[in-house]
């Protein structure tokens, strides 16, 4: 019965649902996982690199993490082709805002702009929604470091830690117990956040052995100079391996007791 109301994005079902939007959200559950964790001195975005074929040329650029402006970056879960359009939109918006106001765009306004763009495809024109969820990470002078999650419906929310992509429920339940376990209300340091992110990826990628080729670890922080520009850094394979080894050692130690 619901099938009749599936095909058009612009039609509500009798139960009051937009099936096309829900199916788009489902599509992302097959995509590589992304974890985002807010730290007190930065933000960590960790992504699963899905290597579909050994014949693929080594990637020159990331498939998951994209810089949007001097002070913001996002990572993608879902259809890469769809994501490219939205990333372009975000970069244009950030650039135009800075051109007009000579100031970096506040994070929430950037996220809201991308989300409004996504929402239009759920209401007008009979076009399908974008099959992409984002984790936006950025810094602004009003609210400091911020982490936002968006989905194909055009909804967004701010998070201290969250997961998108395949097995995100397992990842989120791990974060619930492990992020700020004593409920101090304090944010972790970037180092602690990196280890937690790897732990979450281990869980969502369960079955696969963790390795630095399969995990992309990204950190955003601010320089300690007067200008305080944002630093966007994807860890090298060696640095990533170090974090992975630390997590394994921690896990092994805990297992003994």
């Amino acid at each position: 019965m619901a099938r009749r109301y599936d095909s058009s994005t612009t039609t509500f079902s009798p139960e009051g649902r937009l099936h096309q939007v829900e199916y788009a959200i489902e599509a992302i559950n097959n995509a590589g996982t992304c974890v985002g964790i807010l730290a007190k001195d930065g933000i960590v975005l960790a992504s699963e690199r899905q290597l579909t074929s050994g014949l693929l040329a080594p990637a020159k650029t990331s498939e998951k993490t994209y810089k949007l402006s001097q002070h913001s970056t996002c990572c993608v879960a879902g259809l890469t082709a769809d994501a490219n359009i939205l990333i372009d939109q975000a970069r244009l918006r950030a650039g135009r805002y800075e051109y007009q106001y000579q100031e970096p765009i506040p994070m929430e306004q950037l996220v809201e702009h991308v989300c409004n763009y996504k929402q239009a495809y759920t209401q007008y024109g009979g076009l399908r929604p974008f099959g992409v969820s984002f984790l936006f990470a950025g810094y602004d002078q009003h609210y400091g470091f911020q982490l936002y999650q968006t989905d194909p419906s055009g909804n967004y929310s701010g998070w201290k830690a969250t997961v998108i992509g395949s097995n995100n429920q397992a990842g989120k339940s791990l974060l619930k117990t492990e992020y700020d376990p004593e409920s101090t209300g304090e944010l972790p340091s970037v180092e602690v956040a990196l280890r937690l992110a790897v732990k979450v990826l281990n869980k969502t990628m369960d079955g696969t052995a963790a390795s630095s080729e399969k995990m992309e670890l990204f950190v955003m922080s601010r320089e300690d100079t007067e200008e305080k520009l944002c630093v966007h850094r994807i860890l090298t394979n060696d640095e990533a391996q170090k974090v992975i080894d630390e997590v394994e050692a921690e896990g092994a130690g805990a297992g003994d007791s």
């Binding site: 051109y99 007009q100 106001y101 000579q102 100031e103 506040p106 929430e108 306004q109 002078q141 009003h142």
Partner: protein, 217 residues
């Protein structure tokens, strides 16, 4: 501004050239924890004074005010347009725009309209932010913008800039600022041809934009 002689092919609308000189006087400077703006209260055209209690200083937000000069139509239209847009930005964002962003927005509007339908408006933007202190931006009708310690628009510049050069110093108190402003008004009263009996003076500080009455003191 008459563009027709210079670029006959341009699509700029040729308005009748404004042969009347802009006679408004704007002054402003920055203090330790405030910015102060003054504008003459005459609304006049050629030899006729329409009114002598015109308020040419518009509050844009709790942080900033804009004093504008120019033909009344342009001046009021531009001031209100900017003010409404600044308020809209604040409603959308949930917090007020910074002084830098506000000043650049004003400049951008003037500059992007310059070769279409120019705003024949000069302005001084005065603001205060707790983190950065007082600020003053000089913007002219071409879209020139400079952040300055003190500035003037109009004929009064010929008289008052030298007074500012001599007497302005960093981190002045509000009382010192008021004294300096009064010096400028006295000078204009004595030496400037046009009679400007009243000035509207506004101060921007941590508590927002307020009008002060120097004549009463």
């Amino acid at each position: 501004l008459d563009f027709s002689e210079h670029s006959p092919d341009s699509q700029v609308s040729t308005r009748p050239s404004n042969s009347f000189v802009i006679m408004d006087s704007l002054l402003g400077f920055v203090g330790g924890d405030f910015a102060i703006l003054a504008a003459d209260a005459n609304a006049a055209r050629s030899i006729l004074v329409f009114k002598q209690d015109e308020d040419k200083i518009v509050p844009l937000s709790k942080k900033m005010a804009m004093a504008a000069s120019g033909a009344q139509g342009d001046r009021v239209q531009f001031s209100e347009y900017i003010q409404k847009n600044i308020v809209l930005n604040e409603l959308r964002a949930g917090f007020p725009m910074s002084c830098v962003a506000t000043a650049n927005f004003v400049r951008h509007e003037i500059a992007s309209n310059l070769r279409r339908k120019p705003y024949n408006v000069n302005c001084l933007l005065g603001g205060f932010e707790a983190a950065k202190g007082g600020c003053l931006y000089y913007v002219d009708y071409f879209g020139t913008m400079h952040k300055m310690n003190f500035a003037c628009h109009g004929h009064c510049a010929a008289f008052c800039l030298s007074l500012f050069d001599r007497h302005w110093k960093p981190n002045m108190t509000l009382d010192e600022g008021k004294e300096l402003m009064k010096k400028c008004f006295t000078e204009l009263k004595v030496r400037y041809l046009l009679n400007m009996p009243k000035f509207v003076v506004k101060v921007v500080d941590a508590n927002g934009v307020h009008e002060i009455d120097l004549a009463a003191e």
